[in-house]
């Protein structure tokens, strides 16, 4: 079954121009991708690769130089779509003279929520992001992490269908990161779509269904996390504990079914490896781009890091 696309990006190009219309930066180059309903989508890429630009284009804060965007079937500048989306900006752009309650109340009003509804929702969200102790303090007194938290709460005030999170965990303490990760998984379980940028690959690896890697405004890699992290040409066997001298005879042991076979799979690289590979190969070979469904072969030998209890065998190809 074809998954339903809630976001469609076609040939999106963005050129930043200066006051006189002269080209300053080409931030995005012919980006095309779809985000499906109910998935957690990760946008990766080094600094300045165009992740934030993509999100801002999606939200109508920037106008595309070329290309088209559809969100829930509407254009990016259509205010109607805003009812169903939530956005956590890269830095929290909130009114610093408001306190947490007023902030949520204000944004709640913009969605036309009734005052009792606003009250219950902001109560719940303030508890959710653990700002209960500071709900009456003005945001200008907040620490970076606290500002992030209220920003996150603000993005959820309308119970959105699609949530855009630009580096949601930056500035958060380990507990906070943990909470955000849990939150994203919870949103996913509620059927929401999440689009997030992050530099913390372990996190992305844990929560994202699909990722796209941007480099210099070009899409370099796109696919499900599982697919992308499978390394070809390798097979991984996981067994119960076996005697030390038997390791040398693993194949024989297997052939003789001396040990119970617990699973056969492709060994996974970490997303970090994949990311670094993609970036370095993109730097080495500029102009190479991800084209519909085809992952360009990655260099590097892969399988560098294995868990201690894992025995890997190379040679047998799948």
């Amino acid at each position: 079954m074809q998954p339903e696309s809630v976001i469609e990006i076609r040939n999106l190009t963005k050129v930043y121009r200066d006051f006189w219309g002269r080209k300053k930066v080409q931030a995005l180059n012919s980006l095309s991708l779809d985000v499906h309903r109910g998935e957690v989508f990760g946008l990766l890429g080094p600094n300045g690769s165009g992740k934030t630009t993509t999100l801002k284009l999606l939200l109508g804060l920037l106008f595309p130089t070329e290309g088209e965007i559809r969100i829930l079937g509407k254009t990016a500048t259509d205010v109607e779509k805003n009812k169903y989306i939530g956005y956590l900006p890269e830095e929290s752009y909130l009114y610093r003279f408001l306190n947490a309650e007023e902030t949520l109340d204000f944004y709640g009003r913009l969605f036309g929520l009734s005052s009792s509804e606003r009250k219950t929702r902001s109560d719940r969200l303030i508890k959710l992001v653990k700002l209960d102790h500071a709900r009456r303090r003005q945001l200008k007194e907040y620490s970076k992490g606290m500002t992030r938290r209220i920003g996150l709460a603000q993005a959820l005030i309308n119970d959105p269908e699609i949530i855009f999170l630009d580096e949601p965990t930056s500035g958060l303490d380990p507990n906070g990161r943990r909470d955000v990760k849990d939150l994203i998984l919870q949103l996913k379980s509620e059927g929401k779509t999440v689009v997030m940028c992050s530099h913390l690959l372990a996190e992305i690896e844990d929560v994202c269904d699909r990722v796209a890697i941007l480099y210099n405004g070009e899409l370099k890699l796109l696919g499900t996390v599982d697919e992308l992290l499978q390394s070809q040409g390798e097979t991984q066997l996981r067994t119960t504990a076996i005697p030390q001298d038997a390791i040398r005879e693993v194949e024989a042991v297997l052939a003789r079914h001396g040990a119970k076979l617990e699973g056969v799979s492709h060994p996974k690289r970490t997303l970090e490896d994949l990311f670094l590979d993609t970036v370095s190969s993109s730097a080495a070979r500029p102009g190479q781009r991800f084209v519909d469904g085809k992952v360009p072969p990655t260099t590097g030998d892969g399988g560098a890091a294995e868990p201690a209890v894992t025995a890997a065998s190379s040679g047998s190809r799948t």
Partner: protein
């Protein structure tokens, strides 16, 4: 004496002009937008422009009060937390010290009242204008700079709601500030004015009339060159001739009469009676010295303007010697005893039943009685004074006028701030203020003369347009001599044509801040009029006229603006 000339203000024609200008500008802008769309995007571009325009209309019509009010309240909290209300402290300081300087002056009581009232109203507008200007010009740009607007626009807020919400917010803040300062100012005046001057603390309600002159033969008299400015310009009638100055008043009804204390000449008792109170200031021009101990004698005649000959009555009591440069007050009784010239019979004339026309018009003819002496007067020199209203009436109407001006400043400021950064927006609004008030008269005169010279063949633009004038100045040329025909003259005159035609158009989009100058009425002891120019209705019309175009402009520029890139 007022320094300007209150003209009747007709609301409907003004509305018509407004609509015409609005439609014309909309059409021009739309045409340019379509051409722009066609040039940049071909047919698709035209379609984009069209759908943009349509969506603009939708966005403007479907403004949500709830969201707008949310923005308004945000604006309020912002001003409060950013301590905008500190302006009160400045205000309080000014007033604490002003008392010392203003009192103790050795002026006449009513002059002192003028000083106090003028001072308070000037201070009000001088303090409120910067508040309005700075708040409105810096709000949205600051919001964009701090990017707090970015989060707002990712919610289902229409840009029109942001513009309108901000406008209402700033107007609200200014209203509060002005109201508090206005009240404080009022009580300050009432307390500061010395007791003996309290009687001058009223709002006089004059009925001004139209003034014309007739000469010895009873024909309309041509006045000097300065016809347009009769308010300022006095014309003269000669004494002991049939020359008359004729004032025609409208709205003269019995309730225009004032109750005055009169002394019965026989019994010496005093009682209150309703009288029609006519106040005047005349200027005498003596061709010989005469009796310097008394003023020139003046007599009033009253008549129905529709049939002056049949209805003319002379009030025998309304003959008096004028006091120059002072107010002459004549209280005309309703019943006037007249002696018929021909029969010598005495009869009683009822001013309202027998003289004033059915629709309330009355003609007052002024005659000078001393031969070879001249009596000078202008339009505002003679008026019917209706019963006074309390001082608060004129005062708060003037404050309302200031309020209307701040509303316009806020509207202009917010609009400018949707496409310019704070300092630029401030400068722009300030420029409009400056062009709109001190330079306004100059600009109007220039373009009126130009329009007259274009539309009427017998009028020429004396001295030409600005470029031609400069050339004349440099060449030391007389403004009436023709420039030598030639290429350079044609060029100069075409440039001037374009400039003046442009100016005549631009005049419509530059607000006339002169209409808000209502404080002069109050400080000179008058009530503020409704339907004159300047007057309240005119001021309201001016503010309203700019509201819709500004919201439109603000909305479109905020919408087509890429918030993120700068």
């Amino acid at each position: 004496m007022l320094t300007f000339n209150p003209q009747p203000f007709e609301f409907l024609p003004a509305l018509g002009t407004w609509l015409l200008v609005l439609v014309a500008f909309t059409v021009v802008v739309a045409v340019f937008a379509f051409i722009g769309g066609l040039l940049t995007g071909g047919f698709a571009g035209v379609r984009r422009v069209f759908s943009g325009l349509v969506r603009g209309v939708v966005d403007l019509v479907s403004i949500s009060p709830g969201r707008t009010w949310a923005i308004t309240q945000l604006t309020f909290i912002e001003a409060r937390r950013r301590k905008a209300f500190l302006v009160f402290v400045v205000f309080a300081l000014v007033f604490m010290f002003a008392g010392w300087f203003l009192t103790g002056s050795e002026q006449r009581a009513d002059e002192q009242v003028k000083v106090f009232v003028g001072f308070v109203l000037t201070t009000l507008s001088l303090l409120i204008l910067p508040v309005a200007l700075l708040l409105s010009c810096w709000g949205i740009p600051e919001d964009i700079r701090r990017r707090s607007l970015h989060t707002v626009v990712t919610k289902p807020v229409r840009r029109s709601e942001i513009v309108v919400g901000r406008m209402i917010g700033y107007v609200g803040i200014n209203t509060i500030v002005l109201l508090v300062m206005g009240l404080v100012g009022y009580f300050w005046i009432v307390r500061q004015v010395p007791d003996e001057a309290k009687s001058a603390l009223v709002s006089r309600v004059p009925i001004f009339g139209d003034l014309r002159f007739i000469d010895r033969e009873g024909k309309p008299k041509r006045e000097g060159v300065n016809v347009g400015d009769i308010w300022q310009h006095r014309s003269y009638i000669e004494g002991a001739t049939p020359e008359r100055a004729i004032f025609t008043f409208d709205g003269v009804t019995p309730d225009a009469m004032t109750s005055v204390v009169v002394k019965d000449p026989e019994t010496g008792e005093t009682r209150e009676e309703e009288r029609l109170r006519i106040e005047s200031t005349f200027e005498a021009f003596r061709t010989y010295k005469g009796d310097m101990s008394r003023g020139i004698y003046v007599q009033y005649y009253f008549a129905n303007p529709d049939d002056p000959e049949k209805t003319r009555v002379a009030d025998p009591n309304a003959i008096f010697a004028i006091e120059e440069f002072k107010l002459n007050v004549q209280n005309i009784p309703r019943k006037i005893q007249v002696v018929d010239d021909e029969t010598g019979a005495e009869r009683t004339v009822d001013l309202f039943e027998d003289v004033v026309s059915d629709d309330g018009r009355l003609q007052v003819e002024v005659a000078a009685l001393d031969g070879a002496q001249y009596l000078g007067m202008a339009k505002a020199d003679l008026f019917i004074r209706k019963p006074d209203r309390p001082f608060a009436s004129g005062y708060f109407k003037a404050v309302f006028g200031i309020w209307l001006m701040t509303v316009l400043v806020v509207v202009l400021g917010v609009t400018a701030s949707t496409f310019a950064k704070g300092p630029i927006a401030t400068l722009l609004t300030l420029t409009l203020l400056v062009i709109g008030s001190p330079f306004r008269g100059f600009m109007d005169e220039l373009s009126n003369n130009y329009l007259a010279s274009v539309t009427r063949s017998n009028v020429t633009l004396e001295g030409g347009g600005p470029l031609e004038s400069i050339v004349r100045i440099v060449k030391h040329m007389n403004p009436t001599t023709e420039l030598a025909p030639g290429v350079s003259t044609t060029v100069i005159q075409s440039v001037d044509h374009v400039f003046l035609a442009g100016l005549s158009l631009v005049r419509y989009v530059i607000p006339d801040f002169g209409v808000y100058n209502l404080s002069e009425y109050t400080s000179k002891g008058y009530d503020v009029f409704w339907s004159t120019d300047p007057g309240l209705l005119r001021a309201m019309a001016m503010t309203l006229a700019f509201l819709l175009p500004c919201i439109l402009l603000g909305y479109y520029s905020l919408r087509f603006r890429e918030l993120e890139s700068k």
